[in-house]
């Protein structure tokens, strides 16, 4: 993908792995996912609903827990 053929990986603290310059990602089950953008974020927490891509679920989980703890009585009307 990149002009000079370099493929690089960047690990984000508490977040995904950024992959630059790849053409495809082969998932656990052997499925080949073509890479359509210059940089992709790969899930590292295994909670993504869109594996192998990061969908920020690593944050949602924290938030859901906080929601339950902070606002247990919240209803849809409020």
């Amino acid at each position: 993908m990149t002009g000079d053929g370099r493929v690089t990986v960047q690990l984000c603290p508490g977040g995904p792995m950024l992959l630059r310059g790849a053409d495809e990602v082969v998932a656990d089950d052997g499925t080949v996912h073509p890479v359509g953008r210059p940089v992709v974020a790969l899930c590292r927490c295994r909670r993504s609903q869109r594996m192998p891509w990061c969908d920020n679920s690593h944050k949602a989980r924290r938030t859901d827990r906080a929601d339950r703890a902070d606002r247990p009585e919240r209803s849809d009307e409020n």
Binding site: Q10, C12, P13, G14, G15, P16, L18, G36, R37, P38, V39, V40, A41, Q49, R50, W53, C54, D55, N56, K59, A60, R62, T63, D64, A66, D67, D76, E77
Partner: protein, 320 residues
Amino acid sequence: MSEAVIRALTVPTGPRPVPSPDDARRVTDPLTDRDFQLALWMLYELHYRGFDGIDPDLEWDPLLIAARRPMEAALEAAVRELAAVDDEPTTAKEVATALTRMTNGCGAGELATFLGRHATKTQFREYLAERAVYHLHESDPQSFVLPRIDGPAKVALAELQYDEYGSGRPDRIHAGLYAKALTSLGIPTDLLTHVDRAEATTLASVNTMSLFALNRRLRGAALGHLAAFEATSSLPCAAIAEGARRLGLPPEVADYYDEHVEADAVHEQLAIRDICGALVENEPALGADVVLGAAACLAVDGLAADVLLDRWRDLRSAAS
């Protein structure tokens, strides 16, 4: 003020009335004043696409620029007051920590959760029409920042913008994906139709981006704003895509939001670390502005979301 701007844009020759500095100072709450926001939006739009039938030379008309200055000062003061922050990170690591802390607890947010689970088709369409004011120009404000920065931050911003503009595929420009979603629902893609009806706070949301992007002095705020925007986008977009599927809307609608779940998970990391981190590493004095921009994004967009939620809530209580 908006009528004065329209007259100033359309009177062909002779004396042209423009909003005065006193007009701008008299506005008590710029963020919720539709007339003020509309006037400023039109002045900014001269720098983007302009208007059919309006002289393109007016972009740099001294009278209009002079009229805009006090309006921008009023908006900046209001944004600074609303987004008051007391944090001055001066290293890449401190900036990443500050931006992550500010955006981590946001989750999907009330508005996206409502769209995902409860909104009617009418409410969903209203949302798309309201947000068209931004999305039809998606990412354009931030492009003005590119020539104003250097080094690794510039490279990272260019990389992010390349993705926003379709990664080499004209059919995947994000603004174009949004237009396709609108068209699939029979909603017009003409920007002015939506600006005419938009809430003050929606206009304030896009005007804040233009304020930061068109004033080089505020480049740190422009990029902090971008980081907060991207970091609070994936989870809401996933919820909104679910709402589109729940309501059985055409696939173009979910496609726009699905694209943003994955893209913005990437962009968040790029914006926080490679753009804002590198910017502050290069220009440590901009750290406070980066945080200001992020806080402004969260606060102003939060206001805009609350206005929509309140509108729908009022409808619901009126019906019951």
